[in-house]
Symmetry: C2
Subunit: 145 residues, 2 copies
Amino acid sequence: MDNINNRDLFHLLNQRVRYLSKEINNRLNDHGLYASQWSIIFCLERFGPMTQTAIWKYLNVEAPTMTRTLSRMEKNGWIVRMQGDDKRERFIELTEEAKQKFTQVQQSTDKIEQEMVANLSLEEKKQLYKLLTKLGTTGEESHNE
Amino acid sequence: MDNINNRDLFHLLNQRVRYLSKEINNRLNDHGLYASQWSIIFCLERFGPMTQTAIWKYLNVEAPTMTRTLSRMEKNGWIVRMQGDDKRERFIELTEEAKQKFTQVQQSTDKIEQEMVANLSLEEKKQLYKLLTKLGTTGEESHNE
DNA sequence: CTCCATTATTTACCTAGGTAAATAAAATCA
DNA sequence: TGATTTTATTTACCTAGGTAAATAATGGAG
């Protein structure tokens, strides 16, 4: 494993991320949640009620993705959508049940994530974080706007 | 960015991978391809005709995922499915058109990937590879082969 | 005020990934 | 041989992600 091929690097990256997602979703299944839904709940718990646009911009996904995921979460009783003063926008709020379950789910995810980095020292985690930051940013190129 | 939080690490990891996928798919779109389809083509060019099972095991996805993606690729003229001696299995083969386009597409993907690691030195790429290897393997677990 | 541009959200239509269960063919076993 | 188990693929049903275009409401310019 001496000379690194870009292809192998991206291949490994994809494999790992898919594996991790699968595993996380698997564990979250006990709570009736998916990783994407949990990231929204976490966001709402942290910042309080937000518009859909604020959420998808924060999480870096597209608007339709957010619409759909929130619809499922609404159906499953995790969130409610409230009409704002500006009638175009909808404020998203966690339900009482979601707030109650929050701590428990958080403990699960903390544990999973901890297991997944069990082989990395603190120093290695910092390194990994830094390297990921450098990935995909082609020097002077801008992000999406 | 001194003390790394596992959550932030995984968040960044997901964000980056989604960004990279989006970008790669975007570029591959010129060739009428998606990253997942390209990985299959690459695999077939490297190893020659393979059964579906061999492909999904190699790429670490589930069988139904492979069935579907190959169906699209068959429809679009990238591959053909041949009956094997064992009538349960189907051998997948690149079409002539796929073989002809291979080099051109490969040049595109090489270029994209190169751009995406432009900010990483060789040493950093090796580090990243190594760190990714350690990620998700809870202790004694081995790599993919 | 009216018309036009912008903004928030949704709908329609794609790909990719997963699990569970159904087929169909091969392999094994009694 | 006949019955059972395994294996390869598919089908049905789910989530997540994307783009393009449609609504609907707001904001500005004239």
